[in-house]
Amino acid sequence: MAGASKAWSPGRDVVRAEALSLQAKSEARLEPIVWGLFSLGGFITAFLLPVVILFLYLAVPLGVWPADRVGYEAMAALMADLLVQLFFLLLIAGSLFHGMHRLRHLLLDAGLESADAWLSFVLYGAAVIGSLVAFYYTILIHMPLPFP
């Protein structure tokens, strides 16, 4: 009977929830993976980003460091080190996956739920591309490879 309450009463038949879209109710494959990347990115950005912003972008304008500390020679010498290359790669990739995941959920919450497939493709795709570009410019570019 339409509008009948589903609260318990003696002799009530078991009621099933209305069928939702199959996608919303089948075990998610993408979600655990992007959540894991988001978590990793969260740790990386929380621990590493503040000190990097402070010294890379604020120390010179605020007069704490002389300008040549982050000048071309200094930075090029810094980036020759594999540890530094990995550091910046992790920072860039981590922040991209973290930020894109949060942006996707913000947009879903704002009402764009129906566009989720498209949103995931664009946002996580951007994170993947950004990470690959970062991999090239941090690690690959310093390795003796046949291609430029």
């Binding site: 309450s5 589903k6 609260a7 078991v14 009621v15 099933r16 929830a17 209305e18 939702l20 996608q23 919303a24 109710k25 089948s26 075990e27 998610a28 494959r29 979600e31 655990p32 993976i33 959540w35 894991g36 959920h105 919450d109 009402g111 739920e113 989720d116």
Partner: protein
């Protein structure tokens, strides 16, 4: 005790009289030992018998009397008037639910979602009665005790902005209840439960706002339960990827 006065501004919804909700003010006397539910009952008994609201045990165990008091989801039986006098006390029905009448909301959706998480012990074969009871050590009980304290008051659903925006989020109480069974040593349905929760309308819709745990009158901490479920579900996904045959679907 000296009697003071307070104005209860209560949201009414009388579809037989007016098509939209409206506020009605009631001035009553109150004492320091009265809770908001007592105020509502004074109004119903002595001022306006048409005022409609749910309540039962008046001691915070039945979960019937949830409402928005000055904009916050609270149990009316657990909120002293003296603590919320502002000087008004604004009483609204719990948000995120359709309103049936006055402060009474329709929570059929909540009941459906509770059912979906299979909130009962799942075993491949139940023990025969002759084998006696299922035994648990105090430590095993402690593992899920906190999550078993839920009184189904729905304040967490009222506080959850994701539930408010989404048509199909399972919600804090249903997920905390599922976690309660996963943590119960007598339950054998853990993997299957996890598979049913690890969906886009299940744990992955939660963005850890955390307000559900703030408003819970029983300190169940559904937000913590959901985050734990996310970690467990992620571990399950890793196992599926690395050892696909070993994991049940």
């Amino acid at each position: 005790m000296a009697a003071k006065q307070v104005v209860f501004r209560v949201q009414r919804y009388r579809p037989d009289k007016r098509p939209r909700p409206y506020y009605q003010d009631y001035r009553i006397r109150y004492t320091d030992d009265m809770v908001v539910l007592d105020g509502l009952n004074v109004i119903k008994d002595a001022v306006d018998p048409t005022l409609t609201f749910r309540w039962s045990c008046r001691m915070g165990i039945c979960g019937s009397c949830g409402a928005n008091i000055n904009g916050k989801p609270r149990l009316t039986c657990g909120t002293f008037i003296k603590d919320v006098v502002g000087p008004q006390v604004i009483v609204d029905p719990m948000p995120n639910f359709p309103i049936l009448k006055d402060l009474v909301v329709d929570f059929d959706d909540f009941l459906d979602k509770l059912e979906e998480t299979r909130p009962y012990l799942v075993r491949s074969k139940p023990k025969p009665l002759s084998d006696g009871e299922y035994r648990q050590t105090p430590a095993e009980v402690e593992a899920y005790r906190q999550y078993s304290m839920c009184i189904n008051c729905m304040l967490c659903y009222a506080a959850c902005p994701v539930y408010g925006a989404s048509g199909h989020f399972l919600g804090p109480a249903a997920l905390a209840l599922a976690y309660r069974y996963i943590r119960d040593s007598r339950d054998r349905g853990g993997e299957e439960r996890l598979a049913r929760l690890s969906t886009k309308s299940g744990i992955w819709e939660c963005t850890f706002v955390g307000e559900c745990s703030v408003v819970c009158p029983k300190a169940v901490d559904p937000a913590g339960a959901i985050q734990n479920l996310k970690v467990l579900a992620s571990m399950r996904t890793m196992r599926k990827l690395l050892m696909p045959k070993a994991v049940s679907r």
